[in-house]
Amino acid sequence: MSQTPNQKSGAQSNPLFALGKERLELIGKHADALMQGYLDGQINESAFSEQALQKLLDSRVLDYPDEQRLQLRPIVNELIASLTQDERKRQINSDVGEHLDQIHTRVQSLQAARQKGDYAASEHHLQLLTERVNDMTGQFGDAIESLWHRLNTEFGFVSSLDDKILEIELAQRQLRRILDGFGIINFDDLIQLAGSDGSLRKLLVSQLQARISEHSGSLLEVQKRLVLLMSRFRQQQDKALLINRMSAFLRQHPNFQVGDYPNRSQVPAVVNQAQGISAQAFIALDRAQDSYALAELARAVPRELEQGSNSERQDQGFSMALQSLVATEQKQLAKDVEDFFIHVIESPEALSGVDYLAEKELSWEPEMWLFQIVAEYQGLPEQNKQSFMLEKDSAPKSRFNQLYIIQDVTVGMRFFGDFQAAG
């Protein structure tokens, strides 16, 4: 006490600090006996002096769940388990044993109280017993829920497949431990224990049985899914390996000749993939009932011929006006744009100007190209313009003015309003 620490921080002046430190030290002082108790599941009273025992009880490290038994408080048990990462090994099994033991003692106390006709005490014992049973099934429930959670996220908390596979193995062991825990519960014993007492039978036998079978069903499903997931992860690993090795092999053996499987007497299934057949149909005028629909179509579809001659005129108009400028280049640009529009007419879907430019590997500046497409579109006669639909894909240049930069234009045909605009 006399040596003040170098810096006495605010935390250290907190009364909680002193108390917590005292308690931790107390645990440290009795580490041997407490650990022995953790392993045995029960504390040997004689290991402590009366004073020490009282201190441990006051500090909420130990308690008497009933008169005869001295135990670590569950929270201390948990602390030790988590510090030693022992919970996986112990929790379910030992807990089930422990719970069952306590259920036994509690039932005995209950029956003793009933024999004495102590109604209040027996009520109390029954309540504690109910809590104990619920605790036990609750623990199973929690463990199963945690398994489900990990399963449903596909073990997303670890990234590599190796780790995922390890986690699945871990989960499978945990699952087995829970099942072992179920195995410990002996319903014959419990039936005997409950005797002819209706409320006990209900609590210890019918309710518990229903809960356990529900849990078992859930576990079975978890097990199935774990196996599936495991095989999927292993397959993925296996495939990745196959891909790596095959590509390495092919690189090493550029002249590798594969067998002529298609011409073997037995053609392997993996090779047998039929060639595509496209069933085409054409306009037929030999059925009178179709004529109306066909006429509708004919009216709606822009006529290629008219389209062609219009564009030609357009082209001429341009070239004449710009002859004094870089006439040939301008002509080529107009020609390319015209090709683009013809492509649009032939294509079932809308085309992106930028994509087309890249695809055809044309050398135009994208800006110039898009401008020309828009210009060509604007220059179309109104009637033809309606056949096309032009969408500008633009983004504001800056937040401070209203300038929009067109990044792409998408042009498509407007068939019966069927055109699905991109963007």
Binding site: A240, I243, Q252, N272
Partner: protein, 207 residues
């Protein structure tokens, strides 16, 4: 049968039907009665509905291996084998760029932007991409990674290994045809007794 017309047509055109390309039809094809009906219709065309080993993709196969059928199969097989290395390298590239340690599988989603940003961050990936894009399977003439990526993915989509759910959005999903390709690789490995099951040290792989 009328309502199955479009499905039949797609199959006839040589499409692969999986849960990604057409979930509805894929589920329909799991009904054996329907497949029997379709097969009955397809019989005169010398075709039948076939599926891969794990049933993740449906396509048409020949019933009788006539001379014509074999000729086509031969042609197709050769071109698949010829494009095998670039396809495998593409799969490796995507897998590595996206930091996955499992192979690309049916249903995996690839966002082009993610892929691009990963590739341009890494000189060796840029080089591998350039090498790949130059392959005659992809035929890209651009020296810009973004154009190369666009071209490579476009080609792979055309080949049926990728599905683009939205025409205007650059993300792709891996189709069941990839699984079929892997099956073919496994088949070739087993059938040709390729010595690739042993561990090959990484260094050796590089040369």
């Amino acid at each position: 049968m009328i309502e199955n017309g479009p499905l039949l047509e797609r199959l006839l055109e040589g499409e692969y039907i999986c849960s990604i390309t057409d979930e509805h039809s894929f589920h329909k094809l799991q009904n054996e009665e329907l497949v029997d009906d379709l097969n009955h219709f397809l019989r005169p065309l010398n075709r039948r509905v076939a599926k891969n080993d794990d049933g993740s993709v449906y396509f048409l196969a020949y019933c009788d291996l006539t001379q014509n059928a074999r000729q086509h199969l031969s042609h197709q097989f050769t071109s698949t084998v010829q494009s095998l290395l670039p396809m495998l390298e593409w799969m490796q590239l995507v897998q590595e760029a996206l930091g996955r340690d499992g192979a690309l599988s049916l249903g995996d989603t690839i966002k082009l932007q993610d892929f691009e940003s990963k590739v341009v961050d890494n000189q060796s990936l840029i080089q591998r991409l350039a090498h790949l894009a130059n392959d005659k399977l992809f035929k890209s003439t651009s020296d810009k990674p973004d154009m190369q990526i666009k071209q490579v993915f476009k080609r792979i989509k055309e080949l049926g290994y990728l599905h683009q759910p939205h025409k205007d959005r650059l993300f792709y999903q891996v189709t069941g045809k990839v699984e079929q390709l892997i099956e073919l690789v496994r088949f070739i490995k087993d059938e040709e007794n390729l010595p690739i099951d042993e561990e090959i040290p990484e260094q050796e792989v590089m040369f």
